[in-house]
Subunit: 209 residues, 2 copies
DNA sequence: GTTTAGCACGAACGATCGTGCTAAACAAGG
DNA sequence: CCTTGTTTAGCACGATCGTTCGTGCTAAAC
């Protein structure tokens, strides 16, 4: 391992990658600086110096996980055209992201949301809530686009639809990992499909194939 | 504080009640024997003696939480007649249980499921998975009853319906606590209602009012 | 050749964790 | 009154937690 100036960034990324993986299993509070250090073959203090406090490490971990989420879920789905197709692609992309175990313990943000949901407000909780809201907004916007294009009925409420779709996605994530049974991903896929069809216009239904 | 023989059971219940409340906020691993002891004004070792190990304390806590869950969610809903009415009542009862904050950090079992979902198998994880499966089965059975009675269509799949209903309930629990906004409970109520109507026969739709 | 900055190390800190071992307080039965 | 069993407290243990401090090494800057 060479240690030239600038190598700190590489080390930092390695730390955050491992931290996010750990956090998806044991939670953001569950990650320990000592365990991360031994896992990376470096000293506690050397690792600690990169962040200054555990809370800052947690925040950096969330930011890194956000990038991985964007890369794994959002980017592939943004290849689909706006509207109902993209909405469908987003859901499918999420389920694939769960199935591929991008994070070994399941969706990082689902775990973090569950962990910090009942906590008092603070920087970490706020950041998690922000990430969550952003994802929901992405789904709702895709739904709104679909309505504008006449793929979803005028009576369709994008936010309600987004809530129900994400409910299926999240539950698939939980059950998939709790019971280690991939059939729950298919349950979610069928739920998404039927829910989309329920709000789709005839034109929208054609698009869904 | 009197300490007669048999008072150990009272103390034990007080411990478990506090432990379950704590666990709904900080998780089952997050409960600490020291914090419980100071919270109850007793010594660590005195409290510890009741269980013998932290894992046994966790298992007892789950069992206590299960009783509270049955009392708060199941019992009220079992007043409704079998079938679609009971299915609806179960969902409504769960949302009320979340809203009333029976556990201060949200649904105990949702939190436990999220916490132990990605962990290696063990007594605690297995018990959580059992509780979860039991609840899902309760929902699915109510749906199956509804189908037998002709309130739900013959094409309706009770397990799929149960999955989708529970997805809405769980998500309401998460968002309600993460964003401290009770509107998500209404979102879930509307989701439940429209989902039930989607699989209901005309007779079933009449029953739903 | 000297200075500066980046990066990681080892040792130690006070605190808290779960877990033992022993003894004291107390109620009930002989 | 003494014994017995239950319930709780006191004390201490090894481990691990996040954190701080002083130090050394290497590459870049001057």
């Amino acid at each position: 391992m060479t240690r030239t100036p600038g190598s700190g960034a590489v080390t930092r990324e390695a730390i955050l990658r491992l931290a996010a993986n750990q956090a998806s299993v044991d939670g953001l509070e569950g990650i320990s600086i000592g365990q991360l250090a031994t896992g990376l073959g470096m000293s506690k203090s050397g690792l600690f110096a990169h962040f200054g406090s555990k809370e800052l490490l947690q925040l950096a971990t969330i930011e890194d996980a956000r990038k991985r989420y964007v890369e794994a879920v959002l980017v592939p789905a943004l290849g689909a055209p706006r509207g109902i197709r993209r909405l469908d692609a987003l859901c499918d992309s999420f389920l694939s992201y769960v199935e591929r175990a991008v994070f070994p313990g399941g969706c990082f943000f689902a775990a973090a949301m569950a962990e910090f949901g009942g906590r008092e407000p603070g920087p970490v909780r706020d950041k998690i809530a922000d990430c969550q809201r952003q994802w929901t907004t992405t789904l709702a916007r895709a739904a709104a686009d679909g309505r504008e294009r006449g793929e979803l009925t005028a009576a369709c409420e994008p936010e309600q639809l987004a809530f129900e779709l994400e409910a299926a996605l999240l539950s698939a994530n939980w059950y998939f990992h709790l019971h280690t049974e991939s059939s729950y991903l298919d349950r979610a896929r069928r739920a998404v499909r039927s829910r989309l069809e329920a709000d789709a216009t005839p034109a929208g239904r054609l698009i869904l194939r």
